[in-house]
């Protein structure tokens, strides 16, 4: 009986997390970055690692390793009008799918997925393909991002500079 309740809880939480991740993806494609900031737990980290196997992000060089302060600064930069690359950023459409529930504690789930972003700028489309890992907390009732890790499949190769968020 207990197991069944747990399974039911996990499935419901997983479904809420997937819906949350899709909502986040939509916000990012619309460049609604202020609203995106509100999805975060203030202690959370937004990470784009370079080393495909690292989990010690603090000790590694990453493309991005943003705490709340750096996330706010990044969004400020993107929306300020002072950055030429952000002001003239590519338009993006992203698909997030292939969801799996990695772990589920009482109020926190880790969901893995695949993301493909098509970015279009000045006649050129560029693909950013990545494995995602979202850690989502439901402690406050509403889902909040505790960690998002974006592992680009070509992270150790030369990438194109971008003016949008992955």
């Amino acid at each position: 009986m207990m197991d069944e309740r747990n399974t039911l809880f996990s499935q419901q939480t997983f479904a809420r997390a997937v819906e949350f991740i899709w909502r986040e993806a939509e916000m990012l494609d619309r460049r609604d970055y202020r609203a995106w900031l509100d999805l975060w737990d203030t202690s959370g980290f937004y990470v784009v690692p370079i080393d495909p196997s690292t989990t010690d992000y603090a000790a590694s060089l990453n493309y991005a390793y943003d705490d709340q302060d750096m996330r706010e600064k990044r969004v400020q930069r993107m929306t300020s009008g002072y950055s030429a690359s952000a002001s003239d950023a590519a338009r993006t459409v992203r698909t997030v799918s292939r969801f799996t529930l990695e772990s589920a504690a009482s109020e926190v789930v880790e969901v893995k997925s695949a993301q493909v972003i098509i970015a279009y700028k000045r006649g050129v489309t560029t693909i950013f393909a990545a494995d995602l890992s979202h850690t989502v907390s439901f402690a406050s009732g509403e889902p909040r991002l505790v960690e998002k890790v974006i592992r680009l499949i070509d992270s150790t190769e030369a990438l194109s500079a971008i003016g949008f968020l992955l």
């Binding site: 370079i50 000790a59 990453n62 493309y63 390793y65 930069r77 950055s83 030429a84 990438l159 500079a161």
Partner: protein
């Protein structure tokens, strides 16, 4: 039919497209000129390929490319650093496709010819087909000339090239100063950002000593840092102590924070407040002098040193450029750490690097945007020159020939194009 209908490409006079104060826009997009640059510059002079810290042990290697030619930089059993063409002597396949690693040797995947770390051909299968045809001893992986200065490994295809130290010349004392940011520890490469932009390699080459662009292009980065740091970083705009200087052989220097040129000279200024937490942690295990030395070095040195044609020692990191085609370039920004130094300080160095550099940093994407705009715009008006004349009215020449002007002047670019012209003139 007249012969004049046939298009011919005359590359004899390419050097004339760069004048002392201006260059032809076709320097950025002419494919014939690009091919000549590979031959006359990238396959002729010293090209930076790696830092010694990337190869601490026998068998450690990293692969890279000079122009279009893939090479392996590897430390052999004797401890010597070899730079080998990454190309089997049999049918030309690459013998290594890893970015870096440790190997006992390199074996071609096509017919299993295997090579030692010094390039010697050790074995090939079914050797009877070569008896009396060729000798293994005559078929090592081709090696390049290697020169090392302050851990910087350079290589050249040119057997006749001048010694590396002569080539570096006036840049050497500045390389020595740059390495002081180890704060008593050796400098170690600590990861890299790599990105491409759709533009010619010389646009990046120009940029390293172009301080004129900094407050414009990097406004969004400056707004993301504290006022104290922003004021220090941009003080060169109005300072008489900051300057740009030619150093000969195409090398140049831009000093933007004069008080951080020689990190051994401590002016006693208060440490930036944003490092207060780090200072407290470091003080648990380091003397007050050591703490000051480490923290004053976190942002690197107060200058950018441009080494013609592919390396810059830029404040706190190495900038490496690789020309991919006339209209595309790859850039690497190599982060640096204190080898054996305090982890907490090395982590701060990583965060500083991430903040500005790389394809998702707060600085590099805006540089790339500006450079791509130069590439696109330069196609308009093939007869309208690109100007590199800023500060000609206030440039002074020292007895050793080095020219100095204001920090925002284009003295460094003129030196790069002087060298470019000299090398392109050689047939």
């Amino acid at each position: 039919m007249s012969d004049t209908l046939y298009q011919t490409i005359n590359t004899d006079a390419l050097h004339r497209r760069a004048l002392p104060d201006r260059i032809a826009p076709s320097l950025y997009y002419d494919p014939a000129l690009f091919e000549a640059e590979l031959e006359r510059i990238f396959y002729k002079t010293w090209i930076w390929v790696a830092h010694e810290s990337e190869l601490p042990n026998s068998g450690d290697f990293r692969t890279t490319t000079i122009g279009r030619q893939p090479v392996i930089v590897v430390r052999d059993k004797s401890g010597a650093v070899n730079v080998l063409q990454n190309r089997c002597r049999h049918r030309g396949a690459t013998v290594c496709e890893e970015h870096k690693g440790n190997a006992k040797g390199f074996t071609c995947p096509y017919h299993s010819w295997s090579y030692a770390l010094d390039g010697t051909l050790r074995a090939l299968p079914y050797g009877d087909g070569y008896e009396g045809v060729c000798e293994k001893n005559d078929l090592p992986l081709k090696s390049l000339r290697v020169g090392i200065y302050q851990g910087l490994i350079f290589a050249s295809f040119n057997e006749e090239i001048e010694p590396l130290e002569d080539f570096l010349g006036g840049a050497k004392p500045w390389i020595d100063l740059f390495m002081k940011q180890g704060a008593g520890y050796p400098i170690k490469a600590n990861g890299e950002h790599k990105f491409r932009f759709k533009g010619n390699w010389k646009i990046q080459l120009e940029n390293t000593t172009d301080l004129y662009h900094f407050p414009v292009v990097h406004k969004s980065w400056m707004k993301s840092i504290d006022d104290e740091t922003a004021a220090v970083i941009t003080s060169f705009m109005t300072s008489d102590d900051a300057f740009c200087r030619s150093l000969g052989n195409g090398h140049s220097l831009a000093v933007l924070v004069p008080e951080l040129v020689d990190l051994d000279h401590d002016d006693g200024a208060p440490l930036p407040e944003r490092f207060n937490d780090l200072v407290t942690k470091l003080a648990e295990r380091h003397s007050p002098d050591e703490v000051r030395r480490i923290v004053r070095s976190l942002m690197g040195v107060g200058f950018n040193l441009n080494l013609f044609p592919n390396l810059a020692l830029s404040m706190a990191f190495f900038r490496v450029l690789r020309p991919l085609s006339a209209e595309e370039t790859e850039i690497r920004h190599v982060a640096l750490a204190m080898d054996g130094g305090p982890d907490e300080a090395n982590r701060v160095r990583l965060r500083i690097h991430e903040h500005f550099q790389g394809p998702f940093g707060f600085g590099s994407p805006d540089d790339a945007e500006a450079w791509e705009r130069v590439q696109r715009g330069s196609h308009a008006g093939p007869d309208v020159p690109i100007l590199v004349n800023r500060g000609l009215n206030r440039e002074t020449t020292a007895a050793n020939g080095e020219k100095t002007a204001h920090a925002t002047d284009e003295t460094g670019m003129r030196e790069a194009y002087r060298q470019w012209r000299a090398m392109m003139e050689q047939a």
